[in-house]
């Protein structure tokens, strides 16, 4: 019997009141963005917003609850952007979106600093079971960074992987870890780099005792990248069925996948709402098209959620949660 687990890849939109409140407290300019040593008033504002976002997930009935990463002004580049040995410079485009983040330039060794762990500690106070951590995968985080310290791509990737592993060691107990790896799709690693990307994921996954899901999006993985990713010692791979389901099915049928799977079923970048029935149909379709007998299917939006207005993001949580609780014949 397959278990459907409703979850999300994190990075929630800030609640609307917090948008204004934090803009007033912090300002609108590049230099006003989060630094990692913000004062009490700002910390409290984020604490309130975090509570709101966690409560909303619990009300929706999601099986995994994330911290929300509301402080992540620089989206997936956040863990670097707040690091002491990283200088944030010009504003650069975030993938193929009308969104921007500060270019994080690595100037020294990436020693673990516990920034993400402290957010999760705060979340753990509010979540009795089903806490899920979200981090950028090492390949994507290295892809988002500029390097003035490690010297070459391999050393950079290794440095970033060690850094993330060090961060994970400080985490409270979590049930699941989502590692977001959009760059594996958008800027696919070539020969040799694909194998390294998979090993870097191993380094990170080995550092935590939790179910680890490597989630990919904005298209399907190239065949070879997918094949190498299967060598990584993780529990599930995540696929974006919204942007490319055909190639994904091909990859899974040709090369197999893990015993568990995450499916990006809900569009994180469109306000059009999917019904629970549609979400269930998509899960059933995937199950019919593949020969695998999955233990767990993580039902999730394909991308982070901050692209959406709050009301639509919340409606998508409700739809996902109710899709997961309905009887699903697989």
């Amino acid at each position: 019997m397959t278990e459907i687990v409703a979850t999300t890849p994190g990075l929630y939109p800030l609640p609307d009141r917090a948008k204004d409140d934090l803009a007033d407290r912090k300002g609108h300019q590049k230099s006003d963005l989060i630094s990692g040593n913000e004062g009490n008033a700002i910390t409290e504002a984020y604490d309130h917003a975090r509570e709101e976002v966690i409560e909303r997930q619990q009300t929706a009935g999601l099986d995994r609850v994330v911290e929300g990463q509301l402080r992540w002004d620089d989206m997936l580049a956040h863990p670097l952007a707040v690091h002491d040995n990283v200088d944030t410079r010009g504003i650069v485009r975030y993938y193929d979106n009308n969104n921007f983040y500060r270019d994080p330039v690595i100037e020294g060794e990436l020693t673990p600093d516990g920034d993400v762990a402290s957010e999760l500690d705060a979340a753990a106070e509010l979540v009795d079971s089903g806490l899920q951590a979200v981090l950028p995968g090492p390949y994507s985080l290295a892809d988002l960074a500029s390097d003035e310290h490690y010297g070459d791509d391999a050393a950079l990737l290794d440095g970033v992987a060690q850094f993330l592993a060090g961060e994970l060691e400080q985490f409270p107990d979590v049930e699941t870890l989502f590692l977001l790896e959009p760059s594996l799709v958008t800027d696919a690693p070539g020969d040799g780099d694909d194998e390294r990307a998979s090993k870097a994921i191993d380094t990170v996954a080995d550092a935590i005792d939790a179910e680890v899901v490597v989630h990919t999006y904005w298209g399907a993985l190239e065949e070879k990248v997918h094949a190498h990713l299967l060598d990584a010692d993780v529990d599930a791979l995540g696929y974006d069925l919204v942007s490319d389901h055909e190639q994904t099915i091909y990859n899974v049928n040709e090369y197999g996948t893990k015993d568990d799977v995450a499916l990006g079923l809900v569009d994180g970048q469109n306000t059009l709402l999917e019904t629970p029935a549609e979400i269930r149909e998509r899960i059933e379709w995937f199950s019919e098209e593949t020969v695998n007998d999955f233990e767990t299917v993580y039902a999730t939006p394909n991308t982070e959620l901050f692209y959406l207005p709050v009301n639509k993001a919340e409606a998508k949580l409700d739809a996902l949660a109710s899709a997961a609780t309905e009887e699903v014949s697989l």
Binding site: Q29, N98, F100, N270, L272, N311
Partner: protein
Amino acid sequence: MSNTREQFRPADHENDHFLLTTVVGSYPKPKWHDRARELFEDEDADFDADEWEESKDDAARIITDEHERADLDVITDGEMRRNEMVEFFAKRIEGYDFNGRVKVWGHNYFDKPSVVDDVEYTESWLVDEYEFTADVADAPVKVPITGPYTLASWSFNEVYDSEEALTYALADLVNEEIEALVDAGARYIQIDEPALATTPDDHAIVGEALERIAKDVPEDVRLGLHVCYGDYSRIYPEMLEYPVEEFDLELANGDFEQIDVFKDPEFTKDLALGVLDVHDTEVESVAEIKENIKKGLEIVPPERLTVSPDCGVKLLPREVAYEKMANLAEAAREVEAELDAGEIDVPAAEN
């Protein structure tokens, strides 16, 4: 396409050469005008629709005058009636709906609209703005209008099969609006397509959309395209096929590093050259702007060169925006005089 430039030469223009000076469109809003909007949007405030209209009229009048005082040849009202370049239009197009703000970067948000039904043209978008500005201005007025590709890509598309299909549907509406503007007397229209810079692979979609827009536009109407903050080499030379007479480009911000892109193959349209960095509060000197203008002469001869800022200047402090524009106008006049006197080489004319 005919030469539409001469109609904008001021009657009292002193020099034989004429470098058309203009702006991209937006201008910093006076603080009292922002405050008036806040009051209008505050349900508890005693501030009604008529008073908000009055504030918009007053701001438009003052900023139109500010452009004329800076001595620009073709002006706008600084877009005093518009809040944002997609939202403003989406509010006037049937088929759009709003759900709330989304993040662009940091704590900068915009009310990204959703297309929830077939888009339809039911009311004019800019004719009132144009007529008011033309009425209070002595100088000719340019109308900037957000292009269909940007209107499509910066929206959530819930209805159309693809962004391309939505772009073409919106292009037909833009065509309708331009027809209304032309009927009202507008002779200089600039299509703004900043989204093209972010997804240059879609240049053919923008081309097809422009064909729909330019269809039936009379020959004496000057049609321009503004594209900013991207890698122009990815849309050049393909963009030369677009049915517009002028390209308004952002080049000062990157210290004219991209200027060589336009040298091969030859630039066959008019060039509206960005000579002011709109994200730098330091006012460029007249001498500096003159050097920037000369960069444009590497691409086109003076009779095809328009001089403008990189982009809308709305994020600058108002006095900085004014000084930049005034220096731009002065620099252009000085370059014209030096061209008249044969003191400046024109590389583009020699080719």
